[in-house]
């Protein structure tokens, strides 16, 4: 069997770009498709990380939970309509092993309410582990570490 080609930085950045574009353009149904089945997605805070607290604001420990979360967001949960705009920094490569690329990327996320009210919603860091599966790059792990522990109102749409 041929070895799987390692994930390149250019491919990883393209995945990141497509991921935030899907969210920012409201295509939430695509969200689980950016992850492999045995995946992990977490939103936590810098303070919890530094104090060794394992709590997440949002936690999905496999792809089924990503589907459950987005279905709840679209069908069960109620919130004022809004959208995000993510701005990403350059990425820092943390490690490359067994074809997986781990990198850290800073982000700003602006929240736009349907009234037009626009605010800097959260800032933080993505710590992403990206692998190739069935010829496509996807996230095996995505940890969203927020700089602030104080969230304005609610987080309905994943970051």
């Amino acid at each position: 069997m041929d070895a799987i080609a390692p994930v390149t930085q250019a491919e990883a950045r393209a995945l990141l770009r497509d991921y935030v574009n899907a969210i920012d353009r409201g295509r939430l149904g695509e969200w689980p498709n950016f992850f492999v089945d045995a995946c992990s997605y977490r939103i936590t805070t810098r303070e919890n990380e530094e104090r060794g607290f394992p709590l997440s604001i949002m936690l999905c420990s496999n792809r089924a939970m990503l589907f459950d979360r987005i279905e709840a967001t679209e069908k069960a949960n109620i919130f004022e309509p809004h959208s995000y705009r993510h701005i990403l920094s350059d990425s820092e490569i943390v490690s490359e092993s067994d074809g997986a690329l781990t990198m850290r990327t800073s982000f700003l996320c602006v929240r736009i309410m349907q009234t037009g009210e626009t605010m800097l919603f959260v800032s933080g860091e993505y710590i992403d582990e990206i692998v190739r599966e069935e010829g496509r790059c996807r996230f095996r792990s995505k940890r969203v570490v927020l700089d602030s522990s104080r969230i304005d109102t609610l987080i309905a749409i994943p970051l």
Binding site: P54, S56, F67, A72, K75, E80, I151, I155
Partner: protein, 420 residues
Amino acid sequence: MQTDDDLGQRVAWPPEGVARAPYVLFSDPHVYAREQAAIFRGAAWHFLGLEIELPETGSYILSHIGDTQIIVVRDGRGDIHALVNRCAHKGTPLVFAKSGKVADRFMCIYHNWCFDLRGDLVSVAFEKGVRGKGGMTPSFCKEQHGLDRLRVHRICGLIFATFSPDTPDFEDYIGPAHVANIKRVCGRPLTILGQYSQILHSNWKLYMENVKDPYHASLLHAFNGVMKMDRLTMEGGITMGARGWHHISYSKMTVDPGGEVYEKATQLRSAEISAYGFGLRDPVLTDVWDDFGDKVSLTVQDVFPCFVLQQLRNCLAFRRVRPLGPEKTELFWTAFGYADDGADRKAKRLAQANMMGPAGLISMEDGMIGALIQDSIQGDQDKASVMELGGRGIDAVEGSRASEGSVRGFWTGYRALTGL
């Protein structure tokens, strides 16, 4: 200047009493000032934090009671003190980190006055002056200039405090059933899983009304109704605390006679969602166990005015509410488990924590609903909300949570303390 009599006229409470809440209470700055004096500085107990946040002598956390910052600190004898975070000299805060540790004293950064862990003033810089000149006036008495120290009560590792000498002892203040539930949920060594907070763009009372309102839980939070997490048809009830000021809402998810109303009654939103076939692909949120051996799968308990103890299945948390002016509130969450939880239970509690907090599958709407109300009542300050489910009084309806009696209980405590 606005006098107390003026305030009484401004807040014209309708004759239906606690079955109404005048909208003016949710934005008037004079009402807010009255609450700070009568509730937050008054005869009520306020949650500050946990003993496990103060592991050693000198460990402290910065907490709040209303507008006032409170240092909570452990001294060398193991006693815990609640001290107003304000130097007796010029009013400078003594600490500004959320938590930390000092050796044996708090030193003010401004003029280096030092206070011991009980809040007593122990030294004043240049008290005797320099080279015999200057210094404090000879009549200055350090004993009279300590930090303001509050009464403290500890129960199962939870720390409460009150400014007022008139507040009843804590257990009398909440009543025996409410002491029993704190012991039920917190009677084993606790471990903190994590903390975060939420900004709510509404008056603090709109959030506390929401906490004390089991009526909305399966309606606003359709996830509850659809996923059979918490329905009014489940066996359950409301237990009122002393004087009706506090409540515990509880339910047993395994006992749900008549629950099909949530799928069939077309006036309920959960029935509309069921038509889409909403269901969970992953079972972790429903993979629950009976933590207390009593089949009670949900308890929401409050201690008037601002403390919440939550048991949503195995998702356990404390909530503390801090008003930030008449129209803004900060809600602090601490998720916890037990020190003897195995890795499996800890992982499941962390997964169930998806139900709570700003992204909570169940709680997220609570972050928004108050702000929506806050906006929509602005133009009608002379009107009032209507709460008549379960009557107009505060007596519990036996075996039923189809009642707003616990919300009326909040207003009963509110009126007693504020005199409004």
